[in-house]
């Protein structure tokens, strides 16, 4: 479904992603793990058109999408839950959801808002409150629900567990697993390697902008490098 070939992304002179090749198959759940600064966010931003790659090719369902504008990609069925949730803090929880369905018709939008908020009772209870007043975990739930408004075929998630207590991390992953089971293809990056590997079918390991390992969940759990660096 998603194919990244020979991707290089630079910030000025600094290389953040070097000759990256990854792919995600339909209905797969794929994780990318790596330490802080490894280039995980840059990878997702390159895919999502938020930063411009220097070279390489990205295809989504066999269509070349390198250098496409972000909003166009959303309309093509791929969206991103960004690092740090990025909810609109001064808009209400409900307005955040509705904006997630900006491209839908009014009727569909209202229907989807009801649908995506169903698994998150807290979002319904606090629908008229400013989103900035939600806790970190609640904001993460909102960001995920908001991304689901367009029923993406491929959902990208950047550090969904960042800054959350262990119980909340578990809860967030539970929701993501649910989405996956209901048919959404998922590519997620996380520093929390344990959760990310546990969740996925397949994972990539990133280090200083380069791919240093890949494999299925079980393969990776046994790999020395992952064991040592990430799972302790």
């Amino acid at each position: 479904m998603l194919k990244v070939q020979g991707l290089n992304t630079y910030y000025g002179q600094v290389c953040a992603i070097e000759d990256m090749n990854i792919h995600v198959k339909e209905r797969e759940a794929v994780s990318v793990i790596g330490a802080n600064g490894a280039g995980k966010s840059t990878l997702l931003k390159s895919i999502m058109g938020e930063v411009r790659p220097k070279s390489g090719k990205i295809t989504l369902s066999d269509k070349t999408i390198t250098n496409s504008r972000t909003f166009r990609l959303v309309n093509h069925g791929m969206t991103l839950v960004p690092e740090g949730r990025q909810v609109f803090p001064y808009l209400s929880v409900w307005d955040n959801l509705l904006l997630g369905g900006y491209t839908l018709s009014t009727k569909e939008r209202l229907q989807m808002a009801e649908e995506v908020s169903e698994p998150f009772p807290i979002l319904r209870d606090r629908k008229n409150q400013a989103a900035g007043l939600l806790s970190g975990g609640e904001q993460q739930m909102l960001a995920i629900a908001r991304a689901m408004m367009v029923s993406p075929k491929l959902l990208l998630l950047d550090e969904p567990s960042m800054g959350l207590s262990p119980r909340l991390v578990y809860e967030v992953y539970e929701k993501i697993t649910e989405l996956h089971q209901r048919g959404t293809t998922i590519l997620l990056v996380d520093q929390n390697a344990e959760m990310a590997i546990d969740f996925c079918d397949r994972a990539y390991v990133l280090m200083a902008g380069r791919l240093v390992g890949e494999g299925t969940k079980d393969e990776l759990k046994d790999t020395e490098i992952v064991q040592k660096s990430y799972l302790g």
């Binding site: 991103l80 740090g84 997630g100 007043l133 970190g136």
Partner: protein, 288 residues
């Protein structure tokens, strides 16, 4: 006398409020002050003047002026500011000042420097309000301003596009993740803010006349009001504009008319020094 000054102040304040909206809306999406906004105010008034000169009825001339103002703001963003998105804000500021000067000189070239009166069907009549005669055009200015404020309030808070404009002012990158074309939102913001600014110029045209540098002081006043109201706060800009107009009018009436412009500058300095977030600031605190 007091009521007289109050009405003058409200009329003046309406114009400042309309101007302030443009500064605040643009700041919201691009985080910079469009110092060429005063020239949109001037341009709109001149287009209305010319359209009327060509024989168009008043309502059509006023509408043409307003639409040209919107178009001028739109083009400014599309042709200049958009190319400078990633440049330092100082570059944008200098570009804006450059555009302002070019537009002033162009206006002088096309229309000449001598002030001209824009026609108004209301100017010749007075209305009796509680025994006091008030010019009908003043009432017209106040009513139009109230209508614009209601429309804007409706657009911003009751339509999805308005919500998108708010979203863009809070986090423009995340706005694109909603499938929203952020460039389009910025264009629409510029067009609306500029259209409202041009309307302000058209409304004062029959009273204070139309001339190439008319936007300089009006711009400064509108900017002051937007700072007073808290940059980016649209209702704040409206209220602050009215306050500034009334304060100025009282200063001019009770101290000396020479102090009129000084009042705005003193307020601007005081706010920048003592309360840079404006009188009203932001409504909700950000929590991450």
């Amino acid at each position: 006398m007091i009521v007289d000054q109050l009405i003058n102040g409200i009329v003046l304040g309406s114009v400042y409020a309309l101007m302030a909206i443009g500064y605040t809306m643009v700041w919201n999406v691009l985080r910079f002050i469009n110092f060429a906004h005063g020239e949109v105010y001037m341009g709109g008034a001149f287009v209305a003047l010319t359209t009327m000169y060509l024989g168009a009825p008043v309502w059509l001339a006023y509408s043409c002026g307003m639409l040209s103002g919107a178009l001028l703001g739109y083009l400014m963003e599309k042709l200049v500011y958009k190319k400078m998105r990633t440049a330092p804000k100082l570059n944008l500021l200098i570009a804006a000042i450059g555009i302002a000067i070019v537009l002033q000189n162009s206006a002088q070239l096309i229309w000449g420097a001598s002030p001209e009166r824009l026609a108004s069907p209301f100017l010749a009549n007075n209305v009796n309000i509680g025994g006091m005669m008030v010019n009908q055009h003043y009432i017209f200015i106040i009513i139009v301003t109230i209508i614009v404020m209601f429309l804007l309030e409706f657009f911003m808070n009751r339509t999805l596009m308005g919500k998108a404009v708010q979203a863009a002012s809070q986090n423009i990158q995340a706005t694109e993740l909603m499938g929203i074309n952020a460039n389009k939102v910025i264009s629409i913001t510029f067009a609306i803010g500029s259209g409202v600014g041009a309307l302000a110029g058209i409304l004062v045209g029959p009273v204070f006349l139309v001339f190439p540098t008319m936007g300089v002081f009006a711009g400064l006043k509108g900017f002051t009001a937007s700072v007073m109201g808290g940059m980016g706060n649209i209702p704040g800009a409206m209220v602050a504009g009215l306050m500034l107009g009334v304060l100025e009018s009282f200063a001019a009436g009770f101290i000396s008319s020479g102090y009129r412009d000084a009042v705005a500058m003193v307020i601007l300095l005081a706010i920048l020094l003592l309360r840079p977030q404006g009188i009203f600031g932001k409504v909700v605190a950000e929590k991450v």
